[in-house]
Amino acid sequence: MIKKTIYGLLSVIFFISCSGDDSDTYVATPMELKVPEIFSQYLIAPVTSVENPQTVEGVALGRKLFFDPVLSGNGTQACADCHRPQNAFSDPRKFSVGIDGTAGFRNSMPLQNLAWNYAESFNWDGSATTLEEQIFEPVTNPIEMNNTWPNAVASLQNHTQYPGLFRDAFGTSSIDSVWVTKAIAQFLRTLISAGSRFDHHVLGEEILTPQELNGFNVFMDEDRGDCFHCHGNFFNPLWTDNTFHNNGLEEMFDDLGLGAVTGDPRDNGKFKAPSLRNLLYTSPYMHDGRFETLDEVINHYSEGLVFSETIDPLMKAVAQGGVQLSEEDKAALKAFLLSLSDPGFINNPSFQTPD
């Protein structure tokens, strides 16, 4: 009796695996995320997807898709056009411009260490709750790639290479949008930055300048910069708390940010605290790219804060316009911030246009 049942089960499994689409049973070559030493030492494990495990073939496909304009409505724009490797996968323009020449209204965010966004709340306004979900949006956004998914999928299906690459990655050459987002998400999770001079300083491999060290003290000092409550610390090398704050930019909001997503007026004017990694490459700054230089950013927190109802109480010196840093402390803070730059990240050969 038991034997019969096992035979029955086996034949069912056999049937499924022979039904042409191998996507349920096919397993590409597993590829664990390489967790950098400083992350494994101080942080909890990255967030990966059970439904979308990292594989060699999936990452390679995602990389090709990321740099290929094939996903856009008229075949002229790739993800990488507004998320450029040399800019830590952000856009040096204040607002990115879509295929029809229309500008957006927020600055393109850098793409780095996305698997360490523990709350999985993506975008400046938290509008996507997984990386895969995030990737769905720009393809059809009329002011971005302005395509339809059926059209994007048809372009890939009719391509000489993509059907084979999807089969290698997912066991099926029948392409759909879910596979596209999965492949790109796998590639994005490999965009890991942990090689700045400050990272090496924490690991005891590099000595910072006295000015950089003083700048770190300004950053950590509640009486001076007090940046660390939102932007990481010696033991949190993400340099963000991955949550949302109103940092005193506006008295009235043109853009409600998180509040427009949650519908909760308490969230109005709140935006994701971005990582301070690779600021050297990610100008302009803030959700609307209003500041061209780091000096402007520092001056904002020092003298430029304005009050609104949802301002974070951590912007404690708003009544004085800010924390009133001395010129010496400002210069030191900037030097420290630049020590978070990771040239090995932006130049990583695995992160460039394939071929």
Binding site: Y42, E222, D223, N233, N236, L238, P313, M315, A319
Partner: protein, 249 residues
């Protein structure tokens, strides 16, 4: 011989199942629930940045962030036996998953008292030692003695007149540069907790007690930049003793 062994095993099995006519109390899993009030009014996520409270000094305030750490949770029975039930726990009122802790511990059904450390004691307050706490930026600056925050309560006072922020953050106290003083509190609650199967121990924080008993808190003197302020740090520690209570539900 074989038969004898079988009978012995059987009787052991029967004995183990015969819960009712046995003196050994059943082991019950220990769960902790964390709740907050301001005086007797519950404080939950929906009150964040919304509900106005009045503290002992008469300041009207709202709270926009509340996180706190307790450690070394222990149940003690009437015979003085200690049952450790948790190493440490960070509660974040805005994160529902942190409001309930299913500990891996179980204790015999019975009556206990609850003890824990508010914050970390000196031995456990180790720089960067807890990846889950690092990952939510709970660290206390190294220049202030390092380790971790014990409490972060941010909000505004004078909310109905001239709103001004407060950052009520507590951790190791810095006496002077390089000289630090421990600031944790050993909390030994004295009320009896009868713990039976399915019970949850509720650890309650009365936020109002941070602002009174023994020290009436004056935001006009202490509102921001309190972390490096030795006096403020010690006043918070003194007020911490009456903040916590526990019950079984």
């Amino acid at each position: 011989m074989k038969n004898l062994l079988f009978i012995l095993m059987l009787s052991f099995l029967v004995g183990a199942c015969g819960n009712d006519d046995d003196n050994t109390p059943a082991e019950v899993a220990v769960s902790l629930k964390f709740s907050q009030t301001f005086d007797n009014t519950p404080f939950t996520d929906s009150d964040i940045s919304a509900t106005v409270y009045t503290n002992e000094m008469g300041h009207e305030l709202t709270i926009s962030r509340l996180r706190y750490l307790i450690s070394k949770m222990v149940l003690k029975n009437s015979a003085g036996e200690m049952f450790p039930i948790g190493e440490y726990h960070l509660t974040d009122v805005s994160n529902a998953t942190t409001l309930l802790l299913n500990t891996n511990a179980s204790v015999p059904e019975g009556t206990y008292t609850l003890s824990f450390v508010y914050g970390f004691n000196e031995e456990n307050n180790t720089d960067g030692a807890y990846p889950d706490l690092n990952s939510v930026s709970w660290n206390w600056p190294l220049t202030l003695g390092g380790g971790y925050h014990f409490l972060q309560m941010d909000g505004n006072y004078n909310v109905n007149t001239d709103p001004a922020p407060f950052n009520f953050h507590n951790g190791t106290a810095r006496v002077s540069e390089g000289d630090f003083e421990q600031n944790f509190v050993q909390v030994d609650l004295t009320n009896s907790l009868l713990i039976e199967n399915g019970d949850v121990i509720e650890i309650k924080m009365d936020i109002a007690e941070w602002f009174t008993n023994p020290n009436t808190w004056d935001f006009n003197v202490y509102s921001t930049n309190l972390m490096p302020n030795y006096e403020a740090q010690k006043l918070m520690q003194e007020n911490a003793a009456t903040v916590f209570s526990a019950s079984v539900e």
